[in-house]
Structure formats: structure tokens, C-alpha cells
């Protein structure tokens, strides 16, 4: 019974009650993923599944993801260098206290993949469109599962918009 975390194999716990979030934080000493509400309401625990699908680790039992690959905020940096989106959050003041930031960043990476795939959102006017522009309205709607109690939303949207404007070229 194993799971891959940030490219490394890890043992799954014997007790199936352990959430994916607690596996990361308490068992594997990866506290970058944050426990905000622990009930799926805040998005602070967002991680990436199998390279790009954003999920909430608090509402996941670790055993459900046996054999799968999870990327947490710790897995995004490349040999010590910040991920470009992390750098963009610094440059655009995308945080104050920083508690929601790992979830915001993982969520934004997952969101970009959904946009590339043409997944529509609640504010997409034309459901038949396969190319959806990353407008401010689209970004805000698509990031609505990640709350920021400091209210750094303008900086968060700016960081994501600037980063992905370059990444999707």
C-alpha cells in the first residue's frame, strides 16, 4: 500500500481514517499544505492529483489515493528555486499572512490545466466554446473555492493572471 508524494513513494497508514491532509502534515512532515476548516469550505488544503488535478486533501481519505501521485506545495519548487507562480505571488502581493497561499497556488495550477482543457465555468457564457479566455471574471469564479481571510484577492488574481498570460502563450 503506497502513494507517491512529490515524486517519492510513501507508505499509506494502516488506519483508513487518516485523511490525505493529515498524512501529509502529521505522518510525512510536509506542513506546507494547510488545515483551514477541515470540512471542505476554505481550499487551504488543495493539492494536485496525478500531476495537475486540484483536489481537497481534507475531504480525502489517504487510502482512496493508493497508487496515485500527489503534488503538494513542497513539490512545486525546482531544486530549491521557487515555482514561477510562487515568485508571481511575491511580486504582486498575493498574500498577507500566507496561510491560504499554498492552497491558492496549487489551486491556480490545477485551474490553468482545466482552462487549457476547455472546462467551462459558472461564468462561461458560451458552453460550446472550447477555448475560454482567462478573463478576470473567469479567474475569480474558478478560484472561488479558495478563501483568503486577509482579503488579498486583488493581488492573488493579479499574480495568477500575469503568470498564466505568459504560461499559456
Amino acid at each position: 500500500m503506497s502513494i507517491t508524494i512529490n515524486g517519492l513513494k510513501a507508505q499509506l497508514p494502516d488506519d483508513p481514517r487518516v485523511s490525505l491532509l493529515d498524512l501529509l502534515r502529521e505522518h510525512l512532515n510536509l506542513p506546507g499544505t494547510k488545515k483551514g476548516c477541515d470540512q471542505g469550505a476554505c481550499g487551504a488544503c488543495t493539492v494536485l492529483l496525478d500531476g495537475g488535478e486540484r483536489i481537497l486533501s481534507c475531504l480525502a481519505l489517504a487510502v482512496q489515493y493508493e497508487g496515485r501521485s500527489i503534488t503538494s506545495i513542497e513539490g512545486l519548487c525546482d531544486s530549491g528555486a521557487l515555482h514561477p507562480l510562487q515568485q508571481a505571488f511575491i511580486e504582486h502581493d498575493g498574500f498577507q499572512c500566507g496561510y491560504c497561499t499554498p492552497g491558492q497556488i496549487c489551486s491556480a495550477i490545477g485551474m490553468a490545466e482545466e482552462l487549457r482543457r476547455g472546462v467551462p465555468s459558472h461564468v462561461t457564457e458560451d458552453l460550446s466554446a472550447m477555448r475560454i479566455a482567462a478573463s478576470s471574471d473567469e479567474l475569480r469564479e474558478r478560484m472561488s473555492g479558495n478563501l483568503c481571510r486577509c482579503g488579498a484577492y486583488n493581488g492573488i488574481v493579479a499574480a495568477i493572471a500575469v503568470h498564466f498570460a505568459e504560461a499559456v502563450k
Binding site: 483508513p16 485523511s19 471542505g40 488543495t46 475531504l59 485551474m111 465555468s121 458552453l127 469564479e141
Partner: protein, 328 residues
């Protein structure tokens, strides 16, 4: 969480066998069940993970679609045939939860999600007939802004929170079920029960029965369909009132209409009365309002949710006017 075993079912037959254990629960994405386990509102001794079973969307010989119960909500919403032929279903799913939750949640789990009534969750401080049958309901005289105006009872006024199910109700979706006794189907509108005096019994499913798929009928008018949801914030909130509708207008007259409401009842609420009243009528704002008023004529609002009655009427009328505009 109380202790439980976990097993991943390799196929439907194995799932049914494992699910026959008295205190077993089927596990989909876990976005509702894991929370209920943590709150100890669910205390199964065995979890049977059924997410690996059926996650395909297939075209049926009659032109309908068969959606496997393990299909993720995102996968349904982004599916090309759903977007083009049943836009109300894409729109309803996209109006619900967050992207992360839609990536995890399955179709079967969405249907079987439980009430979000705060008194149901308040294990230590409140009475709830759904949690503890016979105890009483503190929502009826409590903070019931989010509660039901249609179909509720003196025992329970909680609403069903799914957006997806409201679209499925409007579309006349059929749910495929399997148990040790064999296979059967139920219209989605017959799957959830009204609370009456037993709100703890929420569906018509037999013990151990598994949802295997949801079938959408071929329904040409569904190409002209949409979903509108009114909530307390612009995104990531449950509905105060929502409307799923499909409309066919010919020569200025309503030839056919499908209408369902969310946020107002203990189950996805198919507006049969409004549909019957509107068919054959002129497609005008006046007829839309009249049919909506007929639907809510039996509404029994609570202390804090009387606004939902007029909101439902206006929302139905607005959505039908929007769909009429698509025809012109």
C-alpha cells in the same frame, strides 16, 4: 471518526457483496461522506470504495446518454454532448461547490449527499429528527432562512442541496440501481423521499443497493435549457432558490417545458404543476408568472424564508423569459 474497514471494489458484483454488510457504506469521492464521518453523523463499520467502477459517458441507441455513477462531476460538466445537448446539466454542476470538490465528487455521491441543515450537524446543541428520530426539529422555529418552503413536514424542513439533481429532475433522468436482488431503474424524481414523519429515511434505495448509472433521455428541447441559482454570495454557496428549465416555443406558444426547483424542498423539486399549467399557453411574461404562482401556491414558508416564495416565482419567470429569447 469511528473505526471502519476500507475496501476498493474491483467490480460491481464485489461492491454489492461487500455492501451487503449491515453497517457498510459505499464511498464515492468522499466530499460529503468524509465530512459526515468526521462529525460522527455517519458511523459505518465498513467503507466500500466504488469510484473505480463506472466512470464512462456513453451514447444510448435511443440517442440518450448513460452516465456512470463513478463519473466525476467535472467530467460530466465538461463533456461535449452534455454541454451541447443538455446545457442545463453542465450549468447546474458548474453552479455547485468549488472546482476542487467537483473534481472529486461522483454522480452517485452527489445524488446521495445529505442535508446541510446546521441543526442536523449540531450534534451536541440541537434536536434533529434526521439525526435522532423522534427527538424533534429545532430548525422549524430556529434560523431557517435556508430551509424548505415546499414538501417539508412537521418533522423536518431541511432542503436537498444538490444543484446537479435539480437539472436531472427537469430532464427526467432515470437512475440505474443494482443490489443482490438484481437490477432496477427509478426516475430521479422518485428516488428521494419527502420527510413526512421519517426524515431519517431519505431515499427509496434498499439496504446495500448501489447507484450504477444515470440515464438521460433523448430530449431535443433540452438543447434550449439553462440553470439559474440565487445564493448569498456570487460563488461557492448553496442555493436559496435555483431553477432548471428547458423550453420549446412554437409560433409564440409553449409547446413543451421542463421545470425543476432547488433550494426550496427536501428533494429536487420537479415543478409538475407549473409545467402542466404552461403547456399550450402563450410564451409571455404573464403566463410564466402565472404558472410559477401555481407551483408555489402550496408553499408553507417558515419564520425566516418567506422571501423564497416570491423569489421562486420571479426566478422561474426570468429563466423562462431568457429561454424564450433564445428562440426568437
Amino acid at each position: 471518526m469511528t473505526p471502519f474497514t476500507y475496501a476498493r471494489a474491483a467490480d460491481t458484483a464485489e461492491a454489492i457483496r461487500l455492501g451487503a454488510e449491515p453497517q457498510a457504506k459505499y464511498l464515492g469521492g468522499g466530499t460529503n461522506l468524509v465530512d459526515l464521518l468526521r462529525e460522527r453523523l455517519e458511523r459505518p463499520t465498513a467503507l466500500v470504495d466504488v469510484t473505480g467502477l463506472s466512470s464512462t459517458i456513453e451514447k444510448r441507441p435511443n440517442g440518450g446518454l448513460l452516465i456512470g455513477a463513478g463519473t466525476k462531476n467535472t467530467a460530466v460538466a465538461e463533456h461535449q454532448a452534455v454541454r451541447l445537448r443538455y446545457p442545463v446539466l453542465s450549468r447546474a454542476i458548474l453552479a455547485g461547490a468549488s472546482a476542487q470538490i467537483r473534481n472529486m465528487a461522483t454522480v452517485g455521491g452527489n445524488i446521495l449527499q445529505r442535508a446541510r441543515c446546521l441543526y442536523f450537524y449540531d450534534d451536541e446543541g440541537s434536536r434533529c429528527n434526521k439525526r435522532a428520530p423522534g427527538q424533534g426539529c429545532d430548525a422549524i422555529d430556529g434560523l431557517n432562512r435556508n430551509h424548505a418552503i415546499l414538501g417539508a413536514s412537521s418533522a423536518c424542513v431541511a432542503t436537498h442541496s444538490s444543484d446537479m439533481c435539480v437539472a436531472l429532475a427537469a430532464l427526467g433522468a432515470v437512475v440505474h440501481l443494482r443490489s443482490a436482488r438484481g437490477e432496477r431503474t427509478l426516475p430521479l424524481t422518485d428516488l428521494h423521499r419527502l420527510p413526512e414523519q421519517h426524515p431519517e429515511i431519505e431515499t427509496m434505495l434498499d439496504p446495500g443497493e448501489l447507484i450504477t448509472a444515470v440515464e438521460l433521455p433523448p430530449l431535443p428541447l433540452a438543447a434550449h435549457s439553462t440553470y439559474r441559482k440565487v445564493r448569498d454570495r456570487a460563488s461557492y454557496a448553496f442555493a436559496l432558490v435555483s431553477v432548471a428549465a428547458a423550453l420549446e416555443v412554437e409560433g409564440g406558444t409553449v409547446k413543451d417545458v421542463r421545470l425543476a426547483l432547488g433550494g426550496v424542498a427536501p428533494k429536487p423539486w420537479r415543478a409538475w404543476k407549473a409545467e402542466a399549467a404552461l403547456k399550450g399557453q402563450p410564451a409571455t411574461a404573464e403566463s410564466f408568472r402565472v404558472c410559477a404562482e401555481i407551483e408555489v401556491a402550496d408553499a408553507r414558508p417558515l419564520g425566516h424564508n418567506a422571501f423564497k416564495v416570491e423569489l421562486a416565482v420571479r426566478l422561474i419567470a426570468a429563466v423562462l423569459e431568457e429561454l424564450t429569447g433564445e428562440h426568437s
